[in-house]
Amino acid sequence: MASTTSGATRRAGGIDWEKRVDDVKVSKTDLNNLVMNYLIIEGYESAALKFAQEANITPQYHFYDIQDRVQIRSAIHSGDIDTAIQRINDLYPEMLDTNPSLHFSLLRLQLIELIRACTSSPDGDISEALNFATTRLAPRAPGNPAFLQDLERTMALLCFPPESLAPPLSELMDPALRRNVAAKVNEAILESAHWMKEAKIRGLVRLRGWAEQRLPGLPPMSLGLDIDGTESPDAMAT
């Protein structure tokens, strides 16, 4: 692999790296397809319909399940895990039974939401959260070390005041967790419908992060992406 690195710096270190990037021809049709694929997979129904109109493209996809997916996702995003689980069981009765880790993720998120509710007020009652943990989560944990660890870590939330949490505990209270669980549910539904489980654009973003890491000698590359008014140079280091 030594030759790879030296080769990369040899070619890429010079000024022509920028030119090589500029010279890549990108088809607009490909970009439009990439966006359309994202809107449908991630459940942005009205945007997808508008985009089909404005970009003059015809989706082959039947929108029948998109609203179900959106409802479930919204419920998870707003922390209403009970509703989400009910919806999933109504629409896809076998999904949670056949996917124990997804089921556990949802239940654990529900526990986190219960803990959030009781720790956010000074005289919150933790008995509901404790009860939920012992009856719903604890029976599932012993068979799987990862579940057990997740459960233990979640219970630790009860010991610390929410405003002074440090990683990895703070990650549990982060809204990104709701989003991740919602994404997993979305993937599972799409997979059960034999669709690709995630939008292709995600692969593209990850490829960039991966390749950059593999090629440390490259000059920094800007994307011209304006988030919160400032360019985030490390935005891609996910």
Binding site: T29, Y38, P175, G203, R208, D226, G229
Partner: protein
């Protein structure tokens, strides 16, 4: 990919060329499946489409096998691009007679040419000096005496002397080194016959290794030997490896340039890793032998392999993708979802999809509000999206072009951004050409509409004859085309027309029919003439080529079903709309490239960089893995 109709139309292109093919000669690039026209000036009437056997121009490189297992790779795409660029460069290049390429690629790839003249963005062949060709045969100039290369370079045979010193043999190298950009290179050898006390070695070596030794007996040489089943990777380094091999066995040899290892197969069975740390520069497939009667045939991918290398390749690819998809450190910075929302939102705004951008922003904000109910901002950041009048203007202009209302777009641009055409006359010109295409489309649509209830052959044929005569005898028309138009009344063109006619026969007033067509047709011809006058002095080849291509449409009786039908593809509208949009953005001092486009460019360049010298991205193909599989 987009929906069916356009691909159907493309399929129609390969129908027998119409009688006006001579008009199109040199103007359009046809798939190799249509009859090549080797002589531009041959009178059309002397030809029928079947009696004229296609002849490969001598300057074309010999057909190179592209092994099945490499077909989905970025390497294969680059090879094709390179071949196209070479072809375009060669002075004897005739776009109609030369096949697109001697390579064959799977149907998954996009059509090579879309919307021809206007589509510089999507199909321009690029020079790629970093790409190297694949081994295709044994090299008769790179061998030891005593070994003979037969059968188009695919077979080698021991021819003597009967006695060879113990530490000597005869060997041959392939014509090209194995390309590390493939990720894995694989070939197979079939032992056709073997001699007494046979000693055959199969493997690979550097370009300077002596050819009087078996593969594996020298430094920078690796081989698997049939007499003892051992592998060798330097003098006297035999290592027990696999079974012996003899006549009728098929021995495969694969080099993984990503982890620098090599393996062999016997009759389709993987024998395990033979070498690690395979180092060196260019490595060539090699075979060596020692006894009379030894005879070996190689498969460089021109036929199916015995070993399932396709699955092997898929596994290697899956391993790399597992690594890519591993979410490293998800909490370290801006999360992936927000990042992607930002890419999509900026793309929609940048490219003028105003309404979509608005709706998307609402959805995203709704989502952000839901997440905010957790009472924490956390790592999820809301996305601010602003409205912008220029985006709305750009959207109007784009919509006009996408709907084929080119006049509308020309006016809007002139009014709102008067500098854009001054500074980008090429775009102005392309729009005008597109306007001509749209005018001809109208004529063509009107004519096929009328033919749906005017079913009389003779009448409609007559109508076309009149138009043909008009074009043939009219000096202006000849001026428009700038060349003599050969007209042939009795070959396939009329046949196609008949097909469209349907079966019923019914008389309608021919005059009325003619007059309905004549107006728009005259307008189109007049507009074409005006364009010709305006740009006569401009000798730039791209201008002249685009002009000729557009004009040639006028000559077709039914252009939408002609070999030039692809010009009507709506992709052509998209291309010119995007170009204009970018030009307006630049005139406003903004980047002409949206972050999403930038992302694709960067990832493409990164992946290419990371596939040189056998880097792991050799197993990644942005096109076939991501862009062309975006179903929706």
């Amino acid at each position: 990919m987009m929906s069916g109709p356009s691909s159907l139309r493309r399929a129609a292109m390969v129908a027998p060329a119409s009688s006006y093919a001579s008009v199109a000669s040199g103007l359009s690039r046809l798939p190799a499946t249509s009859t090549p026209d080797l002589h531009n000036n041959a009178p059309a009437s002397n030809r029928t489409s079947n009696s004229f056997a296609p002849k490969q121009p001598q300057s074309m490189p010999t057909s190179q096998p592209l092994p099945e297992y490499l077909k989905q790779t970025a390497y294969a795409e680059r090879l094709l691009q390179h071949a196209k660029a070479q072809q375009a460069k060669s002075p004897s290049y005739n776009s109609l007679s030369a096949p697109i390429s001697s390579l064959t690629l799977p149907g998954r790839l996009p059509p090579v040419h879309r919307g021809v003249a206007f589509d510089v963005v999507e199909s321009a062949p690029v020079e790629d000096d970093l790409i190297t060709a694949l081994p295709s045969r044994w090299d008769e100039h790179d061998k030891w005496t005593g070994i003979e290369v037969l059968n188009d370079g695919l077979e080698v045979k021991f021819i003597g002397p009967q006695k060879v010193n113990d530490n000597e043999a005869v060997a041959v190298r392939a014509d090209h080194p194995m390309s590390p950009q493939c990720g894995i290179y694989y070939f197979e050898c079939k032992i056709l016959s073997k001699g007494k006390d046979s000693l055959i070695g199969i493997g690979f070596c550097g370009g300077k290794v002596a050819m009087n030794r078996l593969p594996g007996w020298e430094p920078e040489s690796w081989g698997y030997h049939g007499d003892d089943g051992n592998t060798f990777s330097s003098p006297g380094s035999g290592k027990s490896y696999g079974p012996q091999f003899a006549a009728n066995d098929v021995i495969g040899c694969g080099v993984n340039f990503n982890n620098r290892s090599a393996f062999f197969t016997k009759n389709g069975v993987h024998l395990g890793t033979a070498f690690r740390e395979v180092k060196g520069g260019k490595l060539y497939p090699a075979v060596g032998m020692k006894r009379l009667g030894e005879h070996v045939r190689v498969n460089f991918g021109q036929e199916e392999f015995v070993y399932d290398i396709v699955s092997h390749m898929k596994e290697a690819k899956a391993t790399i993708y597992a690594e890519i998809n591993q979410r490293l450190n998800p909490s370290s910075s801006l999360d992936e979802s927000t990042l992607i929302q930002a890419f999509v939102a900026s793309y929609l705004a940048h490219d003028g999809y105003v309404d979509t951008a608005k709706v998307f922003a609402e959805d995203v904000q709704k989502e952000a509000r839901a997440l905010a109910s957790s009472g924490r901002r956390g790592s999820v950041r809301p996305l601010g999206i602003k409205e912008d009048q220029h985006a709305i203007n750009r959207q109007k202009i784009r919509t006009a072009i996408l709907q084929g209302k080119i006049d509308n777009a020309l006016e809007l641009t002139q009014d709102l951004y008067p500098n854009v055409f001054k500074e980008n006359e090429m775009i102005h010109f392309r729009l005008k050409c597109r306007k001509l295409v749209e005018m001809i489309r109208l004529v063509s649509e009107a004519s096929s509409h009328s033919s749906s209830y005017n079913h009389s052959h003779s009448h409609s044929h007559l109508k076309l004859q009149q138009y043909k005569h008009h074009s043939h005898h009219d000096d202006h028309m000849e001026d428009v085309f700038g060349r003599d138009i050969e007209i042939d009344d009795h070959s396939s063109g009329a046949g196609e027309w008949e097909k469209l006619e349907g079966m019923d026969k019914m008389d309608v007033d021919e005059e009325e029919d003619n007059s309905r067509l004549r107006g728009p047709l005259d307008d189109a011809v007049k507009y074409a003439q005006q364009l010709r006058v305006d740009f006569k002095a401009d000798t730039r080849p791209e201008i002249q080529k685009a002009l000729e291509e557009s004009f040639s449409l006028v000559a077709y009786q039914d252009p939408k079903n002609s070999v030039l039908s692809h010009i009507f593809d709506e992709d052509g509208r998209v291309a010119v709309a995007e170009e204009l949009n970018s030009a307006i953005l630049v005139s406003l001092g903004k980047s002409s490239i949206a972050p999403l486009e930038r992302l694709v460019q960067q990832v493409t360049a990164l992946a290419q960089e990371l596939s040189e010298d056998g880097g792991p991205a050799a197993f990644v193909n942005i096109h076939s893995d991501i862009l062309r599989t975006c179903t929706f």
